[in-house]
Symmetry: C2
Subunit: 311 residues, 2 copies
Amino acid sequence: MGLVTISDIEAAADLIKDAAVRTPLLRFDDGLWLKPESLQPVGAFKIRGAYNALARLPQDVRARGVVAYSSGNHAQAVAYAAKLFGVPAVIVVPDDTPQVKVVATRSHGAEVIQVPMAQRESLAAELVVQRGATLIPPFDHPDVIAGQGTIGLEVVADLPDVATVLVPVSGGGLISGVATAVKALSPSTRVVGVEPELAGDAAESLRAGTLIRWPAEERARTVADGLRAEPSELTFEHMRAYVDDIVTVSEEEIGAAVGRLARQARLVVEPSGAVTVAAYLARPSERTALGRTVAVLSGGNVDPEVFARFL
Amino acid sequence: MGLVTISDIEAAADLIKDAAVRTPLLRFDDGLWLKPESLQPVGAFKIRGAYNALARLPQDVRARGVVAYSSGNHAQAVAYAAKLFGVPAVIVVPDDTPQVKVVATRSHGAEVIQVPMAQRESLAAELVVQRGATLIPPFDHPDVIAGQGTIGLEVVADLPDVATVLVPVSGGGLISGVATAVKALSPSTRVVGVEPELAGDAAESLRAGTLIRWPAEERARTVADGLRAEPSELTFEHMRAYVDDIVTVSEEEIGAAVGRLARQARLVVEPSGAVTVAAYLARPSERTALGRTVAVLSGGNVDPEVFARFL
Protein backbone atom coordinates (compact mmCIF):
# COMPACT_ATOMS: atom_id res chain seq x y z
CA MET A 1 0.00 0.00 0.00
CA GLY A 2 1.50 3.32 -1.07
CA LEU A 3 1.95 5.85 1.71
CA VAL A 4 1.49 9.59 1.31
CA THR A 5 4.81 11.39 0.84
CA ILE A 6 6.19 14.72 1.99
CA SER A 7 5.98 15.90 -1.65
CA ASP A 8 2.25 15.15 -1.68
CA ILE A 9 1.88 17.26 1.46
CA GLU A 10 3.98 20.13 0.13
CA ALA A 11 1.85 20.14 -3.02
CA ALA A 12 -1.28 20.21 -0.86
CA ALA A 13 0.06 23.19 1.09
CA ASP A 14 0.30 25.12 -2.13
CA LEU A 15 -3.21 24.15 -3.26
CA ILE A 16 -5.00 24.97 0.00
CA LYS A 17 -3.23 28.18 0.94
CA ASP A 18 -6.12 30.49 0.05
CA ALA A 19 -8.82 28.23 1.51
CA ALA A 20 -7.41 27.31 4.92
CA VAL A 21 -6.16 29.63 7.67
CA ARG A 22 -2.43 29.49 8.39
CA THR A 23 -3.13 28.96 12.11
CA PRO A 24 -0.51 30.36 14.51
CA LEU A 25 1.09 28.41 17.33
CA LEU A 26 -0.19 29.80 20.63
CA ARG A 27 1.94 29.41 23.73
CA PHE A 28 -0.05 27.80 26.53
CA ASP A 29 2.63 27.37 29.21
CA ASP A 30 6.38 26.84 29.47
CA GLY A 31 6.30 23.57 27.59
CA LEU A 32 3.13 23.57 25.50
CA TRP A 33 2.07 25.28 22.29
CA LEU A 34 -1.40 24.99 20.75
CA LYS A 35 -2.23 24.56 17.05
CA PRO A 36 -5.82 25.91 17.00
CA GLU A 37 -7.49 24.28 13.99
CA SER A 38 -10.76 25.28 15.63
CA LEU A 39 -10.16 28.64 13.92
CA GLN A 40 -10.51 27.21 10.41
CA PRO A 41 -13.57 28.03 8.31
CA VAL A 42 -16.14 25.37 9.32
CA GLY A 43 -14.33 25.16 12.68
CA ALA A 44 -12.08 22.19 12.05
CA PHE A 45 -8.94 20.94 10.26
CA LYS A 46 -11.21 19.01 7.87
CA ILE A 47 -11.18 21.88 5.37
CA ARG A 48 -7.53 21.11 4.59
CA GLY A 49 -8.14 17.55 3.42
CA ALA A 50 -11.50 18.20 1.79
CA TYR A 51 -10.25 21.19 -0.16
CA ASN A 52 -7.14 19.34 -1.30
CA ALA A 53 -9.21 16.40 -2.47
CA LEU A 54 -11.48 18.68 -4.52
CA ALA A 55 -8.56 20.69 -5.85
CA ARG A 56 -6.89 17.53 -7.19
CA LEU A 57 -9.93 16.37 -9.16
CA PRO A 58 -9.78 17.02 -12.91
CA GLN A 59 -11.89 20.09 -13.62
CA ASP A 60 -14.56 18.24 -15.63
CA VAL A 61 -14.91 15.60 -12.91
CA ARG A 62 -15.14 18.22 -10.16
CA ALA A 63 -17.79 20.08 -12.15
CA ARG A 64 -20.13 17.07 -11.80
CA GLY A 65 -20.10 17.59 -8.07
CA VAL A 66 -19.06 15.83 -4.89
CA VAL A 67 -20.76 13.62 -2.33
CA ALA A 68 -20.02 12.99 1.33
CA TYR A 69 -21.78 11.01 4.01
CA SER A 70 -21.12 12.44 7.43
CA SER A 71 -23.01 14.40 10.01
CA GLY A 72 -19.91 16.05 11.36
CA ASN A 73 -17.09 18.42 10.50
CA HIS A 74 -16.14 16.60 7.29
CA ALA A 75 -19.57 17.24 5.77
CA GLN A 76 -19.31 20.95 6.50
CA ALA A 77 -15.82 20.99 5.03
CA VAL A 78 -16.86 19.29 1.79
CA ALA A 79 -19.83 21.65 1.48
CA TYR A 80 -17.62 24.68 2.09
CA ALA A 81 -14.91 23.53 -0.33
CA ALA A 82 -17.52 22.82 -3.03
CA LYS A 83 -18.88 26.34 -2.55
CA LEU A 84 -15.38 27.80 -3.03
CA PHE A 85 -15.04 25.84 -6.30
CA GLY A 86 -18.59 26.64 -7.37
CA VAL A 87 -19.51 22.97 -7.82
CA PRO A 88 -22.53 21.09 -6.39
CA ALA A 89 -22.25 19.08 -3.17
CA VAL A 90 -24.64 16.49 -1.80
CA ILE A 91 -24.31 15.55 1.86
CA VAL A 92 -26.08 12.41 3.05
CA VAL A 93 -26.79 12.49 6.79
CA PRO A 94 -28.63 10.21 9.21
CA ASP A 95 -32.22 11.29 9.78
CA ASP A 96 -31.55 11.96 13.49
CA THR A 97 -28.93 14.64 12.69
CA PRO A 98 -29.58 17.78 14.76
CA GLN A 99 -31.37 20.42 12.70
CA VAL A 100 -28.67 22.98 13.52
CA LYS A 101 -26.10 20.88 11.62
CA VAL A 102 -28.43 20.43 8.65
CA VAL A 103 -28.99 24.19 8.52
CA ALA A 104 -25.24 24.88 8.77
CA THR A 105 -24.47 22.49 5.91
CA ARG A 106 -27.23 23.98 3.75
CA SER A 107 -25.87 27.46 4.51
CA HIS A 108 -22.83 26.52 2.42
CA GLY A 109 -25.12 25.80 -0.50
CA ALA A 110 -25.02 22.02 -0.22
CA GLU A 111 -27.97 19.72 -0.84
CA VAL A 112 -28.62 17.73 2.34
CA ILE A 113 -30.42 14.39 2.16
CA GLN A 114 -31.59 12.79 5.39
CA VAL A 115 -31.90 8.99 5.40
CA PRO A 116 -31.87 6.21 8.00
CA MET A 117 -28.31 5.66 9.28
CA ALA A 118 -27.99 2.27 7.58
CA GLN A 119 -28.74 3.72 4.12
CA ARG A 120 -26.11 6.47 4.15
CA GLU A 121 -23.40 4.61 2.29
CA SER A 122 -25.66 2.98 -0.27
CA LEU A 123 -27.40 6.24 -1.14
CA ALA A 124 -24.05 7.99 -1.47
CA ALA A 125 -22.88 5.24 -3.83
CA GLU A 126 -26.08 5.60 -5.83
CA LEU A 127 -25.52 9.34 -6.20
CA VAL A 128 -22.02 8.68 -7.48
CA VAL A 129 -23.43 6.45 -10.20
CA GLN A 130 -26.51 8.57 -11.03
CA ARG A 131 -24.82 11.97 -11.15
CA GLY A 132 -21.23 11.12 -11.93
CA ALA A 133 -20.33 12.87 -8.69
CA THR A 134 -17.17 12.00 -6.75
CA LEU A 135 -17.27 10.63 -3.22
CA ILE A 136 -14.97 12.49 -0.84
CA PRO A 137 -14.24 10.15 2.08
CA PRO A 138 -13.52 11.63 5.52
CA PHE A 139 -10.07 10.05 5.98
CA ASP A 140 -9.50 6.95 3.85
CA HIS A 141 -7.94 8.73 0.87
CA PRO A 142 -4.38 9.88 0.06
CA ASP A 143 -5.46 13.40 -0.98
CA VAL A 144 -7.38 13.88 2.25
CA ILE A 145 -4.42 12.64 4.29
CA ALA A 146 -2.03 14.91 2.38
CA GLY A 147 -4.26 17.91 3.09
CA GLN A 148 -4.32 17.21 6.82
CA GLY A 149 -0.53 16.79 6.72
CA THR A 150 -0.08 20.49 5.98
CA ILE A 151 -0.59 21.01 9.72
CA GLY A 152 2.66 19.12 10.30
CA LEU A 153 4.54 21.35 7.86
CA GLU A 154 3.36 24.44 9.69
CA VAL A 155 4.19 23.07 13.13
CA VAL A 156 7.80 22.30 12.19
CA ALA A 157 8.19 25.62 10.38
CA ASP A 158 6.96 27.60 13.38
CA LEU A 159 8.72 25.59 16.13
CA PRO A 160 11.71 23.85 14.51
CA ASP A 161 12.92 22.29 17.77
CA VAL A 162 9.53 20.74 18.63
CA ALA A 163 10.13 17.50 20.56
CA THR A 164 6.60 16.06 20.67
CA VAL A 165 3.44 16.59 18.62
CA LEU A 166 0.17 15.38 20.15
CA VAL A 167 -2.62 14.59 17.66
CA PRO A 168 -6.23 13.38 18.18
CA VAL A 169 -6.95 9.99 16.61
CA SER A 170 -10.26 8.82 15.17
CA GLY A 171 -10.22 7.44 11.63
CA GLY A 172 -6.58 8.42 11.54
CA GLY A 173 -6.44 10.78 8.56
CA LEU A 174 -5.18 13.68 10.64
CA ILE A 175 -2.38 11.83 12.41
CA SER A 176 -1.37 10.00 9.21
CA GLY A 177 -0.75 13.29 7.44
CA VAL A 178 0.80 15.09 10.39
CA ALA A 179 3.15 12.22 11.24
CA THR A 180 4.27 11.86 7.62
CA ALA A 181 5.17 15.54 7.45
CA VAL A 182 6.80 15.76 10.88
CA LYS A 183 8.94 12.63 10.50
CA ALA A 184 10.13 13.76 7.06
CA LEU A 185 11.20 17.19 8.26
CA SER A 186 12.25 16.41 11.85
CA PRO A 187 12.84 12.66 12.33
CA SER A 188 13.69 12.99 16.03
CA THR A 189 10.35 14.64 16.88
CA ARG A 190 7.95 12.22 18.53
CA VAL A 191 4.39 12.01 17.16
CA VAL A 192 1.94 10.75 19.75
CA GLY A 193 -1.74 10.07 19.12
CA VAL A 194 -4.44 10.66 21.73
CA GLU A 195 -7.76 8.81 22.00
CA PRO A 196 -10.54 8.69 24.58
CA GLU A 197 -10.23 5.57 26.77
CA LEU A 198 -13.78 4.77 25.71
CA ALA A 199 -12.74 4.68 22.04
CA GLY A 200 -9.18 3.44 22.42
CA ASP A 201 -9.17 1.05 19.49
CA ALA A 202 -6.27 2.66 17.62
CA ALA A 203 -4.10 2.65 20.75
CA GLU A 204 -4.81 -1.04 21.23
CA SER A 205 -4.23 -1.75 17.53
CA LEU A 206 -0.88 0.04 17.44
CA ARG A 207 0.33 -1.92 20.46
CA ALA A 208 -0.88 -5.19 18.93
CA GLY A 209 0.59 -4.36 15.52
CA THR A 210 -2.67 -5.22 13.82
CA LEU A 211 -6.05 -3.52 13.43
CA ILE A 212 -8.34 -4.44 16.31
CA ARG A 213 -12.00 -3.52 15.84
CA TRP A 214 -14.17 -2.22 18.64
CA PRO A 215 -17.96 -2.37 18.30
CA ALA A 216 -19.41 0.98 17.18
CA GLU A 217 -21.66 1.13 20.26
CA GLU A 218 -18.59 0.97 22.52
CA ARG A 219 -16.84 3.77 20.63
CA ALA A 220 -20.05 5.81 20.82
CA ARG A 221 -19.79 6.14 24.62
CA THR A 222 -17.27 9.00 24.64
CA VAL A 223 -18.27 12.66 24.79
CA ALA A 224 -15.66 13.21 22.05
CA ASP A 225 -18.12 12.63 19.22
CA GLY A 226 -15.52 13.35 16.55
CA LEU A 227 -13.32 10.46 17.73
CA ARG A 228 -15.76 7.60 17.35
CA ALA A 229 -14.58 6.40 13.90
CA GLU A 230 -12.01 3.66 13.44
CA PRO A 231 -8.82 3.58 11.36
CA SER A 232 -8.75 2.13 7.85
CA GLU A 233 -6.03 -0.12 6.47
CA LEU A 234 -4.51 2.94 4.79
CA THR A 235 -4.37 5.15 7.86
CA PHE A 236 -3.21 2.27 10.06
CA GLU A 237 -0.26 1.69 7.73
CA HIS A 238 0.73 5.35 8.17
CA MET A 239 0.45 5.03 11.94
CA ARG A 240 2.59 1.90 12.01
CA ALA A 241 5.21 3.66 9.91
CA TYR A 242 5.34 7.03 11.63
CA VAL A 243 3.49 7.22 14.96
CA ASP A 244 5.55 6.63 18.13
CA ASP A 245 2.71 5.94 20.53
CA ILE A 246 -1.02 6.42 21.13
CA VAL A 247 -2.18 7.29 24.64
CA THR A 248 -5.70 7.52 26.06
CA VAL A 249 -7.52 10.01 28.29
CA SER A 250 -10.58 9.74 30.51
CA GLU A 251 -13.87 11.55 29.98
CA GLU A 252 -13.12 13.69 33.06
CA GLU A 253 -9.73 14.69 31.67
CA ILE A 254 -11.33 15.66 28.35
CA GLY A 255 -13.92 17.88 30.05
CA ALA A 256 -11.29 19.53 32.23
CA ALA A 257 -9.19 20.32 29.15
CA VAL A 258 -12.16 21.95 27.37
CA GLY A 259 -12.59 24.22 30.40
CA ARG A 260 -8.91 25.07 30.71
CA LEU A 261 -8.69 25.95 27.02
CA ALA A 262 -11.66 28.29 27.32
CA ARG A 263 -10.35 30.04 30.43
CA GLN A 264 -6.64 30.05 29.76
CA ALA A 265 -6.35 30.09 25.95
CA ARG A 266 -9.68 31.80 25.17
CA LEU A 267 -10.58 29.10 22.65
CA VAL A 268 -13.83 27.24 22.14
CA VAL A 269 -12.61 23.69 21.51
CA GLU A 270 -14.84 20.64 21.12
CA PRO A 271 -14.15 17.62 23.36
CA SER A 272 -12.57 15.72 20.44
CA GLY A 273 -10.22 18.63 19.83
CA ALA A 274 -9.18 18.91 23.46
CA VAL A 275 -7.94 15.34 24.02
CA THR A 276 -4.36 16.36 23.26
CA VAL A 277 -4.33 19.02 25.96
CA ALA A 278 -6.07 16.54 28.27
CA ALA A 279 -3.18 14.13 27.78
CA TYR A 280 -0.63 16.85 28.49
CA LEU A 281 -2.38 18.16 31.60
CA ALA A 282 -3.05 14.68 32.99
CA ARG A 283 0.63 13.69 32.95
CA PRO A 284 2.49 16.47 34.76
CA SER A 285 5.34 14.14 35.72
CA GLU A 286 6.04 13.28 32.07
CA ARG A 287 6.15 16.83 30.75
CA THR A 288 9.91 17.21 31.05
CA ALA A 289 10.39 14.05 29.00
CA LEU A 290 7.98 15.36 26.35
CA GLY A 291 10.12 18.45 25.77
CA ARG A 292 8.68 21.30 23.73
CA THR A 293 5.23 20.00 22.88
CA VAL A 294 2.59 21.02 20.34
CA ALA A 295 -1.01 19.95 20.90
CA VAL A 296 -3.16 19.93 17.76
CA LEU A 297 -6.67 21.22 18.61
CA SER A 298 -8.63 19.62 15.82
CA GLY A 299 -11.93 21.47 16.02
CA GLY A 300 -14.32 23.74 17.85
CA ASN A 301 -17.84 22.62 16.94
CA VAL A 302 -19.52 21.91 20.23
CA ASP A 303 -23.08 22.42 21.41
CA PRO A 304 -23.18 25.54 23.62
CA GLU A 305 -24.89 23.51 26.38
CA VAL A 306 -22.14 20.88 26.40
CA PHE A 307 -19.47 23.55 26.29
CA ALA A 308 -20.99 25.59 29.13
CA ARG A 309 -20.91 22.51 31.36
CA PHE A 310 -17.11 22.51 31.26
CA LEU A 311 -16.51 26.24 31.86
CA MET B 1 1.62 67.66 20.28
CA GLY B 2 3.65 65.17 18.24
CA LEU B 3 1.68 62.29 16.80
CA VAL B 4 3.01 58.76 16.42
CA THR B 5 4.21 58.05 12.88
CA ILE B 6 4.11 55.02 10.60
CA SER B 7 7.89 54.70 11.10
CA ASP B 8 7.37 54.42 14.86
CA ILE B 9 4.87 51.63 14.24
CA GLU B 10 7.10 49.82 11.75
CA ALA B 11 9.95 49.97 14.28
CA ALA B 12 7.60 48.58 16.94
CA ALA B 13 6.62 45.68 14.67
CA ASP B 14 10.25 44.68 14.48
CA LEU B 15 10.76 44.92 18.26
CA ILE B 16 7.68 42.93 19.28
CA LYS B 17 7.78 40.18 16.68
CA ASP B 18 8.98 37.47 19.08
CA ALA B 19 6.73 38.55 21.97
CA ALA B 20 3.33 38.99 20.31
CA VAL B 21 1.42 36.52 18.14
CA ARG B 22 1.03 37.46 14.48
CA THR B 23 -2.74 36.93 14.70
CA PRO B 24 -4.45 35.74 11.50
CA LEU B 25 -7.53 37.34 9.97
CA LEU B 26 -10.46 34.94 10.37
CA ARG B 27 -13.35 35.16 7.95
CA PHE B 28 -16.65 35.50 9.80
CA ASP B 29 -19.07 36.00 6.90
CA ASP B 30 -19.13 37.41 3.38
CA GLY B 31 -18.20 40.89 4.51
CA LEU B 32 -16.46 40.55 7.87
CA TRP B 33 -13.01 39.39 8.99
CA LEU B 34 -11.94 39.12 12.64
CA LYS B 35 -8.56 40.13 14.09
CA PRO B 36 -8.50 37.96 17.24
CA GLU B 37 -6.17 39.72 19.69
CA SER B 38 -7.79 37.56 22.35
CA LEU B 39 -5.21 34.95 21.26
CA GLN B 40 -2.25 37.01 22.47
CA PRO B 41 -0.29 35.93 25.53
CA VAL B 42 -2.20 37.49 28.47
CA GLY B 43 -5.29 37.40 26.26
CA ALA B 44 -5.26 40.93 24.89
CA PHE B 45 -3.59 43.31 22.44
CA LYS B 46 -2.00 45.08 25.42
CA ILE B 47 1.16 42.97 25.11
CA ARG B 48 2.03 44.85 21.90
CA GLY B 49 2.17 48.29 23.51
CA ALA B 50 3.62 47.16 26.83
CA TYR B 51 6.39 45.14 25.23
CA ASN B 52 7.27 47.95 22.83
CA ALA B 53 7.45 50.43 25.69
CA LEU B 54 9.81 48.18 27.65
CA ALA B 55 11.88 47.38 24.57
CA ARG B 56 12.49 51.05 23.93
CA LEU B 57 13.81 51.81 27.41
CA PRO B 58 17.60 52.11 27.70
CA GLN B 59 18.90 48.83 29.12
CA ASP B 60 20.11 50.32 32.42
CA VAL B 61 16.78 52.07 32.94
CA ARG B 62 14.79 48.93 32.15
CA ALA B 63 16.95 46.92 34.56
CA ARG B 64 15.64 49.06 37.46
CA GLY B 65 12.19 47.72 36.73
CA VAL B 66 8.77 48.91 35.66
CA VAL B 67 5.58 49.97 37.43
CA ALA B 68 1.96 49.90 36.31
CA TYR B 69 -1.26 50.70 38.08
CA SER B 70 -4.13 48.75 36.59
CA SER B 71 -6.26 45.82 37.53
CA GLY B 72 -6.88 44.78 33.97
CA ASN B 73 -5.21 43.50 30.85
CA HIS B 74 -2.51 46.19 30.84
CA ALA B 75 -1.18 45.03 34.20
CA GLN B 76 -0.89 41.46 32.97
CA ALA B 77 0.83 42.66 29.83
CA VAL B 78 3.42 44.72 31.72
CA ALA B 79 4.08 41.82 34.09
CA TYR B 80 4.47 39.42 31.16
CA ALA B 81 6.73 41.77 29.19
CA ALA B 82 8.93 42.34 32.27
CA LYS B 83 9.27 38.59 32.66
CA LEU B 84 10.41 38.27 29.06
CA PHE B 85 13.06 40.93 29.67
CA GLY B 86 14.00 39.48 33.07
CA VAL B 87 13.39 42.78 34.88
CA PRO B 88 11.27 43.42 37.99
CA ALA B 89 7.67 44.64 37.70
CA VAL B 90 5.48 46.13 40.41
CA ILE B 91 1.76 46.25 39.76
CA VAL B 92 -0.35 48.46 42.03
CA VAL B 93 -3.98 47.32 42.13
CA PRO B 94 -7.08 48.41 44.06
CA ASP B 95 -7.64 46.32 47.18
CA ASP B 96 -10.96 45.04 45.82
CA THR B 97 -9.29 43.42 42.80
CA PRO B 98 -10.53 39.82 42.35
CA GLN B 99 -8.01 37.35 43.78
CA VAL B 100 -7.91 35.49 40.46
CA LYS B 101 -6.41 38.55 38.76
CA VAL B 102 -3.87 39.03 41.55
CA VAL B 103 -2.81 35.40 41.22
CA ALA B 104 -2.55 35.69 37.42
CA THR B 105 -0.36 38.78 37.68
CA ARG B 106 1.89 37.16 40.30
CA SER B 107 2.17 34.08 38.07
CA HIS B 108 4.20 36.25 35.67
CA GLY B 109 6.64 36.97 38.49
CA ALA B 110 5.37 40.48 39.23
CA GLU B 111 5.12 42.00 42.70
CA VAL B 112 1.49 42.95 43.32
CA ILE B 113 0.65 45.65 45.86
CA GLN B 114 -3.00 46.09 46.87
CA VAL B 115 -4.00 49.56 48.09
CA PRO B 116 -7.22 51.58 48.32
CA MET B 117 -8.28 52.77 44.84
CA ALA B 118 -7.49 56.41 45.61
CA GLN B 119 -3.87 55.64 46.49
CA ARG B 120 -2.95 53.77 43.32
CA GLU B 121 -1.41 56.64 41.39
CA SER B 122 0.43 58.14 44.35
CA LEU B 123 1.95 54.82 45.38
CA ALA B 124 3.01 54.16 41.79
CA ALA B 125 4.67 57.59 41.67
CA GLU B 126 6.42 56.84 44.96
CA LEU B 127 7.78 53.56 43.58
CA VAL B 128 9.15 55.41 40.58
CA VAL B 129 11.07 57.76 42.88
CA GLN B 130 12.18 55.14 45.43
CA ARG B 131 13.30 52.43 43.04
CA GLY B 132 14.12 54.36 39.91
CA ALA B 133 11.54 52.23 38.14
CA THR B 134 9.70 53.43 35.02
CA LEU B 135 5.95 53.89 34.91
CA ILE B 136 4.34 52.21 31.89
CA PRO B 137 0.99 53.93 31.29
CA PRO B 138 -1.86 51.93 29.73
CA PHE B 139 -2.42 54.21 26.72
CA ASP B 140 -1.14 57.76 27.20
CA HIS B 141 2.34 57.19 25.75
CA PRO B 142 3.73 57.22 22.18
CA ASP B 143 5.57 53.89 22.55
CA VAL B 144 2.41 52.20 23.80
CA ILE B 145 0.39 53.66 20.92
CA ALA B 146 3.04 52.61 18.39
CA GLY B 147 2.95 49.04 19.73
CA GLN B 148 -0.82 48.81 19.37
CA GLY B 149 -0.51 50.25 15.86
CA THR B 150 1.20 47.06 14.67
CA ILE B 151 -2.31 45.58 14.47
CA GLY B 152 -3.06 48.09 11.71
CA LEU B 153 0.04 47.04 9.75
CA GLU B 154 -1.02 43.41 9.89
CA VAL B 155 -4.61 44.13 8.86
CA VAL B 156 -3.57 46.02 5.74
CA ALA B 157 -0.93 43.42 4.87
CA ASP B 158 -3.42 40.55 5.11
CA LEU B 159 -6.42 42.28 3.48
CA PRO B 160 -5.04 45.06 1.26
CA ASP B 161 -8.47 46.10 -0.04
CA VAL B 162 -10.02 46.45 3.43
CA ALA B 163 -12.66 49.21 3.31
CA THR B 164 -13.47 49.61 7.02
CA VAL B 165 -11.64 48.77 10.25
CA LEU B 166 -13.73 48.66 13.44
CA VAL B 167 -11.79 49.25 16.69
CA PRO B 168 -12.93 49.31 20.35
CA VAL B 169 -12.37 52.67 22.09
CA SER B 170 -11.58 53.21 25.75
CA GLY B 171 -8.51 55.32 26.58
CA GLY B 172 -7.86 55.40 22.87
CA GLY B 173 -4.37 53.89 22.66
CA LEU B 174 -5.50 51.03 20.44
CA ILE B 175 -7.45 53.10 17.92
CA SER B 176 -4.75 55.80 17.86
CA GLY B 177 -2.13 53.29 16.78
CA VAL B 178 -4.35 51.33 14.41
CA ALA B 179 -5.71 54.45 12.70
CA THR B 180 -2.23 55.91 12.27
CA ALA B 181 -1.03 52.74 10.55
CA VAL B 182 -4.11 52.18 8.41
CA LYS B 183 -4.35 55.77 7.15
CA ALA B 184 -0.65 55.81 6.28
CA LEU B 185 -0.83 52.60 4.25
CA SER B 186 -4.37 52.78 2.88
CA PRO B 187 -5.75 56.35 3.10
CA SER B 188 -9.15 55.42 1.65
CA THR B 189 -9.86 52.80 4.33
CA ARG B 190 -12.29 54.05 6.96
CA VAL B 191 -11.33 53.63 10.62
CA VAL B 192 -14.38 53.57 12.88
CA GLY B 193 -14.28 53.38 16.67
CA VAL B 194 -16.88 51.52 18.73
CA GLU B 195 -17.93 52.31 22.31
CA PRO B 196 -20.68 51.11 24.59
CA GLU B 197 -23.59 53.60 24.68
CA LEU B 198 -23.09 53.68 28.45
CA ALA B 199 -19.50 54.88 28.04
CA GLY B 200 -19.86 56.91 24.85
CA ASP B 201 -17.65 59.80 25.86
CA ALA B 202 -15.19 59.47 22.98
CA ALA B 203 -18.02 59.34 20.42
CA GLU B 204 -19.48 62.52 21.90
CA SER B 205 -16.06 64.15 22.06
CA LEU B 206 -15.20 63.40 18.45
CA ARG B 207 -18.49 64.86 17.28
CA ALA B 208 -17.97 67.96 19.45
CA GLY B 209 -14.36 68.34 18.36
CA THR B 210 -13.24 68.66 21.97
CA LEU B 211 -12.73 66.28 24.87
CA ILE B 212 -15.95 65.88 26.82
CA ARG B 213 -15.59 64.17 30.19
CA TRP B 214 -18.15 61.73 31.54
CA PRO B 215 -18.21 60.96 35.27
CA ALA B 216 -16.40 57.69 36.07
CA GLU B 217 -19.52 56.26 37.72
CA GLU B 218 -21.46 56.69 34.47
CA ARG B 219 -18.76 54.97 32.42
CA ALA B 220 -18.69 52.15 35.00
CA ARG B 221 -22.23 51.04 34.08
CA THR B 222 -21.28 49.03 30.99
CA VAL B 223 -20.55 45.29 31.08
CA ALA B 224 -17.54 46.10 28.87
CA ASP B 225 -15.20 46.66 31.81
CA GLY B 226 -12.21 47.29 29.57
CA LEU B 227 -13.90 50.28 27.92
CA ARG B 228 -14.49 52.42 30.99
CA ALA B 229 -11.38 54.63 30.67
CA GLU B 230 -11.43 57.98 28.92
CA PRO B 231 -9.17 59.36 26.18
CA SER B 232 -6.16 61.53 26.98
CA GLU B 233 -5.18 64.68 25.11
CA LEU B 234 -2.61 62.61 23.21
CA THR B 235 -4.98 59.87 22.09
CA PHE B 236 -7.75 62.37 21.30
CA GLU B 237 -5.38 64.22 18.96
CA HIS B 238 -4.77 60.98 17.09
CA MET B 239 -8.50 60.33 16.87
CA ARG B 240 -9.19 63.81 15.51
CA ALA B 241 -6.46 63.33 12.92
CA TYR B 242 -7.24 59.80 11.73
CA VAL B 243 -10.56 58.39 12.95
CA ASP B 244 -13.57 58.75 10.63
CA ASP B 245 -16.31 58.10 13.15
CA ILE B 246 -17.10 56.52 16.51
CA VAL B 247 -20.36 54.60 16.90
CA THR B 248 -21.98 53.13 20.00
CA VAL B 249 -23.63 49.80 20.84
CA SER B 250 -26.12 48.74 23.49
CA GLU B 251 -25.44 46.30 26.31
CA GLU B 252 -27.77 43.80 24.63
CA GLU B 253 -25.88 44.08 21.35
CA ILE B 254 -22.58 43.49 23.17
CA GLY B 255 -23.84 40.34 24.88
CA ALA B 256 -25.29 38.98 21.65
CA ALA B 257 -21.94 39.51 19.91
CA VAL B 258 -20.06 37.60 22.65
CA GLY B 259 -22.42 34.67 22.10
CA ARG B 260 -22.18 34.77 18.30
CA LEU B 261 -18.37 34.86 18.44
CA ALA B 262 -18.32 31.80 20.72
CA ARG B 263 -20.73 29.80 18.59
CA GLN B 264 -19.75 30.91 15.12
CA ALA B 265 -16.05 31.82 15.41
CA ARG B 266 -15.15 29.51 18.34
CA LEU B 267 -13.53 32.41 20.20
CA VAL B 268 -13.82 33.43 23.83
CA VAL B 269 -14.03 37.22 23.58
CA GLU B 270 -14.65 39.57 26.49
CA PRO B 271 -17.52 42.06 26.17
CA SER B 272 -15.07 44.92 25.56
CA GLY B 273 -13.51 42.96 22.72
CA ALA B 274 -16.83 42.14 21.10
CA VAL B 275 -18.18 45.69 20.64
CA THR B 276 -16.86 45.84 17.08
CA VAL B 277 -18.77 42.74 16.02
CA ALA B 278 -21.77 44.07 17.93
CA ALA B 279 -21.68 47.21 15.78
CA TYR B 280 -21.42 45.16 12.59
CA LEU B 281 -24.24 42.77 13.49
CA ALA B 282 -26.53 45.53 14.72
CA ARG B 283 -26.41 47.43 11.45
CA PRO B 284 -27.27 44.92 8.72
CA SER B 285 -28.52 47.63 6.39
CA GLU B 286 -25.19 49.46 6.49
CA ARG B 287 -22.99 46.47 5.74
CA THR B 288 -22.84 47.03 2.01
CA ALA B 289 -21.65 50.57 2.60
CA LEU B 290 -18.97 49.32 5.00
CA GLY B 291 -17.41 47.13 2.31
CA ARG B 292 -14.84 44.54 3.34
CA THR B 293 -14.66 45.04 7.08
CA VAL B 294 -12.20 43.98 9.78
CA ALA B 295 -13.34 43.90 13.42
CA VAL B 296 -10.53 44.08 15.96
CA LEU B 297 -11.35 41.75 18.90
CA SER B 298 -9.26 43.38 21.59
CA GLY B 299 -9.25 40.71 24.30
CA GLY B 300 -10.65 37.53 25.79
CA ASN B 301 -10.38 37.89 29.56
CA VAL B 302 -13.88 37.35 30.85
CA ASP B 303 -15.20 35.67 33.98
CA PRO B 304 -16.52 32.23 32.99
CA GLU B 305 -19.85 33.04 34.69
CA VAL B 306 -20.30 36.23 32.66
CA PHE B 307 -19.27 34.43 29.47
CA ALA B 308 -21.60 31.47 30.03
CA ARG B 309 -24.52 33.88 30.34
CA PHE B 310 -24.08 34.90 26.69
CA LEU B 311 -23.65 31.42 25.17
